[in-house]
Symmetry: C2
Subunit: 361 residues, 2 copies
Amino acid sequence: MDTMQVQLGERSYPIYMGADNLNNAELLTRHIKSKQVLVVTNETIAPLYLMQVTTHLQNYQLEVVVLPDGEQYKTLATMETIFAALLSKQFSRNATIIALGGGVIGDISGFAAACYQRGVPFIQIPTTLLAQVDSSVGGKTGVNHALGKNMIGAFYQPQCVIIDVNVLQTLDDRQLAAGVAEVIKYGLIRSADFFAWIEANIESILARDQNALTYIVEQSCGHKAEIVASDERESGIRAILNLGHTFGHAIETGMGYGHYLHGEAVAIGTCQAADLSRRLGWLNDADVNRIVALFKKAGLPTEPPADLLAEGYINLMAVDKKNVDGDIRLILLKKIGEASLPVSVEKSVLLEALNNYGREN
Amino acid sequence: MDTMQVQLGERSYPIYMGADNLNNAELLTRHIKSKQVLVVTNETIAPLYLMQVTTHLQNYQLEVVVLPDGEQYKTLATMETIFAALLSKQFSRNATIIALGGGVIGDISGFAAACYQRGVPFIQIPTTLLAQVDSSVGGKTGVNHALGKNMIGAFYQPQCVIIDVNVLQTLDDRQLAAGVAEVIKYGLIRSADFFAWIEANIESILARDQNALTYIVEQSCGHKAEIVASDERESGIRAILNLGHTFGHAIETGMGYGHYLHGEAVAIGTCQAADLSRRLGWLNDADVNRIVALFKKAGLPTEPPADLLAEGYINLMAVDKKNVDGDIRLILLKKIGEASLPVSVEKSVLLEALNNYGREN
């Protein structure tokens, strides 16, 4: 087992990474401060891993909330289910909430923990590759609104993140690929070497080779932890983690939550960001082809949905946390391995890119 | 005009107190960082003071949300109205939310500001005495749940608090008295002199003498600011502000939000806390009589509702943010002018006090 610390002063916490961590009772219980524990999970994960976790919690006042599975349930209304469970059992301000699931479960449970009695401790046990390499680390929690993705939430750090790469063996192929999209992102924004490593090892990753999975989890969490430690509340550098996400969020909101997995929308969005970077002269054709080819090899979509038109994107992208006074700002690529800070892109340039994606300038 | 600073490091902010502050455009605009401004108010306040505020905001992209008036609307569902307004106008992360109203408007708008895009600036313009002396200062924001008062929220500090005592001239008598309940609380928990001053000047306060009102606002904000500065997130001393509130919240939740005003429930709850303090030998009969008499003079209720039985209280009090692992903890009085820290009270003692309120031991 490898342990990495997210350095955030009094809000610092460990990420435990390795195989078989779910069977390690002490790893979990050392971070629980009172006898009241609520596990939040979903219908897909509960039959697979809930008992493996709750078996460590027999000496606690244990409650479980099982939510339906899917991005479309990441709403304020679903939060009410969690609050009702906590209140009906008279859970106090030192109760612990454990998020056992993918990014949706982690985001919604973390936000519930941030808000319940103005803040109770929580623990992330991410069960998808995407949650393990990205959403469980860094304290971004929240829910979607019909008018915008992740628009309601809090920065709220967990007590710890417990990653067991063994759970990736039961993940379906589509979910695995969605996680690979965020892994590729780290290579693109920060490390050409890591990008090249993913290119060379994509088959091992997709074959769920334990060493390959452990390596990408450790590399990704390392990048994420470094970025978060230097800019917890995204006033600067942390924004580069949003490569592909402004396009991606527009796709998710525009097509309806749950139509694309988050990682799939990010894959398409990152190809669009690469295409736009090429139009600005920062990437060349060969770079863009490499990027698109790797997403394709990973089994991810790279073509924007035909029925989301350029004007639709513009309207949806106008609701984005990076924007300032209505100005659309994007993370683009200076080169493979280096992201730009948020760039204001003129509407005409953006419209042309959206209308001519993938075609020559 | 008097200015007081709430000392919270990088989250410090001024409280402006005085007459006619609502007509001071610069006081407001100096704290607005971008051109997007949303004013949240209610149906009672909008006809009285909305235009006085919005006249200062003609050069901004101004939106207004007018909510129904009452504690029963302090819910997550009402927050959706605010989020929809912000998102439909594509308000960004540097937009400012202004809360123009009483405690309900301040609490809900502040919580919306804490959550929208994980945090946007907000400004408190409290228009009730209760909001001016208590809820607008200190960063407690949140909404109620059917199973518990203020159970969902955030600690989130405003950019500033603008108090205009002139608005108290239009406040209805019941709302004015409700605010006086919290003013009396400061005397009880921190200053026997201030308590005696209120006793001596209650008629001037109720007659809305400007000097008397200004004095109680300044004294109360001073006490509140000092306590909050030393314990922002209520890990210790801040809990004394909850004198009477554990009983009071049980009454509010048990009788249905909106039945009693918050200050009315606090008045009854404080009398219950005083009665219990007497049973523990901390107060004598004369102390309790003085306390009850002052609340009565202020026009406040002091008798618990007949249809809320002792067992009902116990169940409702079991949901309280001061509790630890299901143990009920109360703020009581050591003497007039000095509160206790949270005290665990045995159920049998509490039941006897609830069943025999006001009668001899």
